[in-house]
Amino acid sequence: MTATAPDTLADGIAGSEASLRKFLHGLPGVDQVGADQRAAMLATRSIKTTAKEWALDLAIRMVDLTTLEGQDTPGKIRALAAKAKRPDPDDPTCPSVAALCVYPHLVPVAAAELKGSGVHLASVATGFPSGQVPLDVKIADTKAAVTAGADEIDMVIDRGAFLSGRYLEVQEQIQAVKQAAGAAHLKVILETGELATYDNVRRASWLAMLAGADVIKTSTGKVQPAATLPVTLIMLEAVRDFRDQTGRQIGVKTAGGIRAAKDAIRYLVLAKETAGEDWLDPDWFRFGASTLLNDLLMQRAKMRTGRYSGPDYFTLD
């Protein structure tokens, strides 16, 4: 995609506003019609029987079980943690989800519940969902979450700065949060619903990756439109090209509006066909979701028992 040598990519362009802008605006433009059609075409693929069973289990293992409501209570977090560990208590073969995703304030409760379970604990930080707080507050927010036991941090970028072209500011903020997060995995939320164009999605993806993101994530789930197939396609292309050039693999997380198992499988097809099979792993692809999990479990029960299941048999959360 670009001619820059791999090891000097980040060094060569990060550091000055002008070189960063030159690089981001030098990225090839996204063919919007083409991206929409490619995503729509891949969505028609039919996944059945054993492939579907495999995909459902993989999708369950990729779920970041999320609750980000003002009305969240410690009791709700404990209930959700139990569900994260054993999504379907009737079926011991059902895998656990990838992570539980909560507000920083509730991280200590979740950490106590998830200890030793192998389920990761993600916390949103940096003034989620708007990100409109001073940098030192973002850093303090992040540090508090990590200290309390979160091993994954979901940060939001400053869309105001990005959209007005202050790329260096966005980059420095991501770097500062990355430093504050320490060993914790950093997921950078681009909030594609507010970025207006596919070109911006591509630029924001590269900006986040250059700044040191471990995962790039579509949305907070608080803005419509949230995750869409074409946007995820563009982000998957970005992580694929980034690995080709730097050798570093970046994960993708898609969040918001994915409610049906069928939709989740479409995203898996997209990930395989765009980035490759390396991304078909909970370490590299995630779904931020809450209602999706129940539909995955219902489909799984249907495959196992041969009869349609119903919402009466799964927890409400």
């Binding site: 009869r307 349609y308 299941s309 119903g310 919402p311 009466d312």
Partner: protein
């Protein structure tokens, strides 16, 4: 095929009725419907198990709204269905006479009885609670009230014979109390059920309260009977005893309420309240009386 007047006949291909809309079968299949003498009448959609699944989702979605209507309002809507049916009386008469090989004069009483049956059940809407609810005397200072509530989504295998009157006689008692229904129409004679769906779509009945699937009940009924999100099933139209037994067994998995097939009932007889109460749950409330 030109008829005597030189006009081309309009060959109809009917669709399903799911969630207030008229979709094609997910499978894309259809089958030929013939009259009593084997002549082509129309094409009807041949529903698949996925149509059953979609219909149950639609019925479940419509349930809280329909059950939450006042009984009085449900009665009004059932009465409205009778009015709309009256307006299509001639169409039903010709469909029934074609399907069953009756003369129009012999088919008319069945259509009239079907219309009257809607009115009769409409009247029950705000009376069932008085008849089947109760204020129970208890040994304590409490009001103790039992009231009937709808059970939820009801699967109905419509009678194979009596495509209109039989269908109305099993459908009306299920929905008047606040249940929602997924109907598998008569395989041989689906046209009155399709026309009834067109009537329902234009008579204030919220979408999804009644969903009509045409096709082969032998193929689709097992999916309905085993569906864990269906609360009750009426096997009126299952003529094959072995299939009926299988369906009852499948329905037992989540303790569905089941109406077992009765040998060729006379739909014109007084129906009684049996089918009304079959799909009700009793809720009992204790309330302190004070003093």
């Amino acid at each position: 095929m030109p008829d005597a007047g030189g006009r081309l006949a309009v060959r109809k291909t009917y669709k399903l009725y799911v969630g207030g809309a008229f979709p094609r079968s997910e499978s894309g299949r259809s089958y030929e419907v013939t009259d009593a003498k084997g002549r082509f009448l129309a094409n009807a959609a041949l529903a698949s198990r996925k149509d059953v699944r979609d219909a149950v989702v639609a019925a479940r979605k419509a349930f809280p709204g329909w059950a939450g209507r006042t009984a009085y309002n449900r009665g009004q809507i059932l009465y409205r269905i009778a009015e709309m049916l009256e307006g299509r009386r001639d169409q039903f008469v010709s469909e029934i006479s074609a399907a069953e090989g009756l003369s129009a004069r012999k088919a008319e009483p069945y259509v009239d009885a079907a219309i009257d049956r809607w009115v009769w059940y409409a009247g029950w809407a705000d009376k069932i609670a008085q008849v089947h609810g109760n204020a129970n005397p208890v040994a304590g200072p409490f009001f103790n009230l039992s009231s009937p509530e709808p059970t939820g989504v009801v699967g109905i295998v419509a009678p194979q014979k009596g495509p209109l009157l039989g269908l109305v006689s099993v459908l009306a008692p299920a929905i008047v109390t606040g249940n929602t229904a997924v109907v598998l129409a008569s395989e041989q004679h689906p046209l009155p059920a399709i026309t009834l769906a067109e009537v329902l779509a234009t008579s204030d009945l919220p979408g999804g309260v009644v969903n009509v699937l045409t096709g082969r009940p032998a193929e689709t009924a097992p999916w309905l009977a085993s569906h864990m999100d269906v609360n009750a099933i009426d096997l009126a139209g299952v003529d094959n005893p072995a299939l009926a037994a299988d369906l009852e067994r499948a329905a037992a998995e989540n303790l569905k309420r089941v109406i077992r097939p009765a040998p060729t009932p006379d739909w014109r007889a007084d129906p009684g309240a049996g089918r009304l109460t079959a799909f009700l749950e009793t809720k009992t409330v204790w309330h302190p009386k004070g003093a």
